[in-house]
């Protein structure tokens, strides 16, 4: 189901200690591109949405930053803020899962790896959800699945489109089959949205792997990906180990899947909000579907 180990989020939120180094926020006045090492003043990097002006590398950003970027100012109203997960299996690997989870919750001030809520994008009312890869690799816990399902169902009820930005290593091993079954839960909930004829715009950011891409994330009515995001079911390292196959140069990138008809468009983060608004202009057009409702057989 792909790796779930949390990797450093390259562009952390300001105002909090750096999640990796623990350095206070004030100390970080520059941002160094992890791909080409070009340095930018933090203010510039933030304005550029942590896309490197030198090499166009799209750094990982957190769920709150993502929402800040996509939602119209002050339009986001969080759903299920207190819906937290549980150590259902009393799971212990090298550490008890309960400890890991509590630590992540405290560090990120999030109950789990997904934020969701009502928002407006370019004036269009939507449900908006965003994964946070720094929270246990954005992995698909029962809490994440439940939040996702509720968000989709609320969109069906409210008759708004659902926009979800995924960045997820896949299943959360520590929740075992409960994690696996979130694939089914999320798809079941998306069906409610489809029953209401409301669109699901699935945005894939680096990385989207395993159980996440093999369920809800692959079922967007429109699927948008950020450039050079790693997307796939099985991680490249595992494939290489198991099969000894030589991997193509662009293997499992957004562009690789776009060329193979699996992703509708690859969009630079700096154009992303505009493209989403363009889609919403059609998909959320007033009187649009209302007109065809008369055609029900």
């Amino acid at each position: 189901m792909g790796p779930l180990v949390a990797q450093p989020v390259e562009a952390a939120l300001t105002g909090r200690p750096h999640p990796i180094t623990g350095a206070p926020a004030a100390a970080r006045t520059a941002w160094t591109c992890p791909a080409c090492a070009a340095a930018q003043p933090l203010a510039v990097a933030r304005e550029q949405l942590f896309v490197c002006p030198t090499c166009a590398h799209h750094a990982r950003i957190g769920a709150r930053q993502r929402i800040e970027h996509l939602a119209d100012p002050d339009s986001f109203a969080e759903w299920d803020a207190d819906l937290a997960g549980r150590d259902r299996l009393a799971f212990v690997d090298t550490r008890p899962y309960a400890e890991r989870l509590a630590e992540a919750q405290a560090r990120h001030r999030m109950p789990d790896a997904l934020l969701s809520g009502a928002a407006a994008i370019g004036g269009h009312r939507v449900g908006l959800a965003a994964f946070d890869f720094s929270f246990m690799g954005g992995s698909l816990s029962a809490a994440v699945g439940e939040r996702l399902a509720r968000a989709a169902e609320r969109c069906a009820t409210l008759r708004t489109p659902f926009v979800c930005v995924t960045t997820s290593g896949g299943a959360r091993m520590q929740e075992g089959v409960f994690s696996l079954l979130q694939m089914a839960k999320s798809v079941a909930a998306l069906h409610t949205l489809a029953d209401a004829h409301m669109p699901f715009i699935s945005i894939l950011a680096d990385p989207t792997m395993g159980g996440s891409i093999a369920s809800f994330a692959a079922l967007g009515d429109v699927i948008v990906a950020e450039p050079r995001a790693t997307i796939g079911f099985t991680g490249a390292r595992v494939i290489a180990q198991v099969t000894h196959e030589r991997l193509p140069a662009d293997f499992q990138t957004s562009e690789f899947h776009h060329a193979r008809g699996l992703i509708d468009m690859v969009v630079d983060r700096r154009q992303l909000k505009g493209r989403v608004i363009g889609l919403l202009r059609v998909l959320a057009a007033p009187g649009g579907r209302a007109g065809t409702d008369a055609s029900a057989a």
């Binding site: 992703i263 468009m265 493209r275 059609v282």
Partner: protein, 297 residues
């Protein structure tokens, strides 16, 4: 448009008449002139008309199964403020683009891309607009290997189960099963110099005369004039083109086409559409000596 009367005269008898100006030869030349107009290198192609008739067009990509055929274009747009899903055959204009788009001839992935668009339209309750311009299904080994015939059959089925209003317009060539894959709409328009045919005139001549060079005679014998499709109850309307043909004035062609698309779409939305009525339309295609009113056992 000059109507060719096929009933007048015994063409077979005059075929071998001395002199080049027999009625048959004149028929053949007239028929061929129309074919050449429909294939004119400056004729507006689907994206040219989509750009001029629709607003907010966003192209989507892929069949969601591993292929994205550039010979078929799909997307979302608005027509007269109304959201629509769009599917089109797309020829290329430059040498490079012609190759990339395979001269507008879909591969199996192209038909599956069309099916994906139809499913999307059904799920989001969007009306469908189809722009047809395909010389014919592609005669190639790979297309056969990947189930071209099955893909066409499945696309025919998908059209006949689409739950939303569906308008098709033949804008150039409407060749064989490849054209039928996106033709089976609730309202079918044909541009003045466009045609629908069971086989390209060249193929038909090779079969009928065992001589592909007699394409002109085949074109005349097949009675490819757009107006005939209306007379036979297969199309609803011929859309006039600017004097001399659409290639002389793309904007003018779009100005003539757009209101007819709007008219039929609004008409269908107002009257209500269901797939069973569409199936009935194609079930009742004429062509029989003694159509019996009761098909029951």
């Amino acid at each position: 448009m000059t109507a060719v009367s096929a009933e007048s005269g015994d063409r077979a008898a005059s075929e071998h008449a001395p002199g080049g100006a027999s009625p048959l030869e004149a028929d053949a030349e007239r028929a061929w002139a129309r074919i050449e107009l429909s294939r004119h290198p400056d004729r507006p192609y689907a994206l040219d008309l989509i750009g001029r008739c629709l607003e907010d067009f966003t192209e989507l990509h892929g069949d969601r199964q591993g292929g994205d055929d550039p010979a078929v274009v799909i997307g979302l747009a608005r027509l007269h403020a109304r959201p629509v899903a769009v599917v089109a055959n797309q020829k290329g204009r430059s040498l490079e683009e012609r190759g990339r788009r395979n001269f507008g001839m879909a591969h199996p992935e192209g038909y599956r891309k069309a099916q994906r668009l139809l499913r999307l339209a059904g799920r989001l309750q969007l009306p469908v607009l189809s722009f047809i311009d395909i010389p014919g299904a592609y005669p190639g080994v790979a297309a056969e290997e990947r189930g071209q015939a099955w893909a066409i059959a499945q696309t025919i089925e998908a059209q006949l189960t689409l739950p939303t209003p569906y308008v098709a317009v033949v804008i150039g060539e409407g060749g064989s099963g490849g054209a039928l894959a996106t033709f089976l709409a609730d309202a079918v328009l044909v541009m003045e110099h466009a045609f629908l045919t069971v086989a390209s005139p060249e193929t038909a001549a090779a079969i009928l005369y065992r001589d592909a060079g007699r394409k002109r005679h085949a074109a005349a014998a097949l009675r490819l004039e757009a107006q005939n499709l209306v007379g036979w109850g297969i199309a609803d309307e011929v859309v006039p083109e600017p004097r001399g043909g659409a290639h002389r004035d793309w904007d003018g062609a779009a100005r003539l086409l757009r209101p007819r698309l709007v008219h039929h779409l609004e008409r269908l939305i107002a009257q209500g559409v269901d797939a069973a009525r569409r199936r009935e339309r194609y079930r009742r295609i004429d062509g029989l000596a003694t159509p019996e009113p009761d098909a029951g056992g």
